[in-house]
Amino acid sequence: MPVVVLAVMSPFLRSYLTVVWFGLASFLVAGLLLGISALIRPNKPNPEKLLTYESGVDPVGDGWSQSQIRYYVFALLFVIFDVEAVFIFPWATQLERYAVFGLVEMGVFVGILLLGLVYAWRKGVLRWV
């Protein structure tokens, strides 16, 4: 990385650069170990060995078989609650400043969300279908 770019970068961005280095380091370490392994491990493929594992019998049909995803409604609920968390965190850090006003506001917010959860619950969405 050129020095100029580093000088322009704010400390904020620079701390996120560390994240990049850590990510690269993990790939590097894993790559290094896999490389060492490649030098000493045997490599004798044969058609039986490369067969998809299905408890010892020959595989039936395609590996990417259709499967029912039973919790797609949960996934929708998850998005709602995850976005809620994004709103709650900034409020949580500033609660001391907002005091009772913030408390009531968040009470309403969480109340509405709980109402949504109760609605989903009553609708039987949370039941295993």
Partner: protein, 352 residues
């Protein structure tokens, strides 16, 4: 303070190299400790057997023997697998662990990064590993793996929320999302005017702590929540087709993440690297003596061992949840309880 002066003398590349090496130790040391101490020895003792005894005194060199063994194993790609995705999936899982350790503070000046929104970053990055798991499950072109990957995704969706909501209680009490700030808030705090222990949030946020540990257990797919890798029905789920060193990377990733999550839990709930500030008459981060940079990592490591002991203890003690029980537990118990916990914490914070 002084370490900052020290690091200012170094070039940026040297600082980064030091950080990365430190991160390597912070990821691999807990993983090795957990695997040897708990997975090899404690599990054996709980099952009335000795565990590894041959390699080194009490089998303490077993880890190196295992790595040597895995290095020599053939790396098999199933003929029908999506080769590129199949190859990189374990790396993504390992990378998520490395990204997670970035936010953990080890001492007053011993940290990798000091994000203002550290808690947020931690919660965001913790879900990257499931991406790797989903890729592994899909690219294997195996029915077991596909089911395992999908179950892992469903489980993460359900248990990510209680984890996020449990941490909100801590953020409310500390008034900051900075991990270092949370450590200081706990150790400089007091309970009912008594500051002998500081204010470790495991006492005032006990509900949050329990929910957080349950969610961690689920995110790590440790036993009561191990539907995605259920050996008896899915034959290790998304790992079925993996062999040789790629399998070991998954394995290391799993236990390294257990270690890092234990460290994060001790930062959030047990006071992190610090001792209660009143013991030495400190009041804020700048008063702290330099020796804490050495003692801090050791204190954090001790707390990490205690928490991962709990994770492993639960793992060896309980039978597996059924998939519907697992989802029901998250949505009908943990999420409502953690929402109530948030509101109660907020009320107490405003009232006092």
């Amino acid at each position: 303070m002084n370490a900052a002066v020290l690091s200012a003398d170094l070039a940026y590349w040297a600082q980064s190299l030091l950080r990365v090496l430190g991160g390597l130790v912070a990821v691999l040391l807990p993983a090795g400790t957990i695997v040897y101490l708990f997975l090899f020895k404690m599990m054996s003792f709980m099952q009335s057997r000795l565990g590894p005894m041959e390699a080194g005194p009490y089998g303490s060199m077993q880890l190196f023997a295992e790595v040597g063994k895995w290095l020599q194993k053939e790396d098999i790609y199933p003929a029908r697998a999506d080769r590129f995705l199949f190859k990189i999936a374990p790396l993504i899982v390992l990378a998520s662990t490395f990204l997670l350790v970035v936010v953990v503070p080890f001492g007053p000046d011993a940290w990798f990064t000091d994000f203002e929104a550290g808690v947020f970053y931690m919660l965001a990055v913790s879900s990257v590993s499931v991406l790797g798991i989903l890729i592994a499950g899909w690219s294997s072109a195996n029915k077991y793996s596909l089911l395992g990957g999908l179950r892992a995704a469903g489980q993460l969706i359900a248990y990510e929320l209680p984890m996020v909501l449990a941490v909100v209680g801590v953020v409310i009490q500390a008034g900051t999302m900075n991990m270092q700030g949370i450590v200081v808030a706990q150790n400089a705090g007091s309970m009912f005017g008594w500051d002998g222990l500081g204010n470790p949030y495991v006492l005032t946020q006990f509900v949050g702590f329990v929910i957080f540990m349950i969610a961690v257990q689920a995110e790590l797919t440790q036993t009561p929540f191990d539907m995605p890798i259920a050996e008896s029905e899915l034959v290790s789920g998304y790992m079925t087709e993996y062999s040789g060193f790629r399998f070991l990377i998954f394995f290391i990733g799993e236990f390294a993440t257990a270690g890092v999550f234990s460290m994060i839990a001790s930062v959030l709930f047990l006071g992190g690297w610090a001792v209660p500030f009143s013991w030495f008459g400190w009041t804020n981060l700048n008063d702290i003596d330099n020796w804490m940079n050495v003692a801090g990592p050791l204190i954090l490591f001790t707390k990490m061992v205690v928490l991962s002991f709990i994770i492993m203890w639960v793992r060896f003690s309980f039978p597996r949840f059924r998939e519907d029980q697992l989802q029901r537990f998250a949505w009908k118990v943990l999420i409502p309880v953690s929402l109530v916990n948030i509101m109660l914490t907020a009320i107490f914070k405003v009232a006092f």
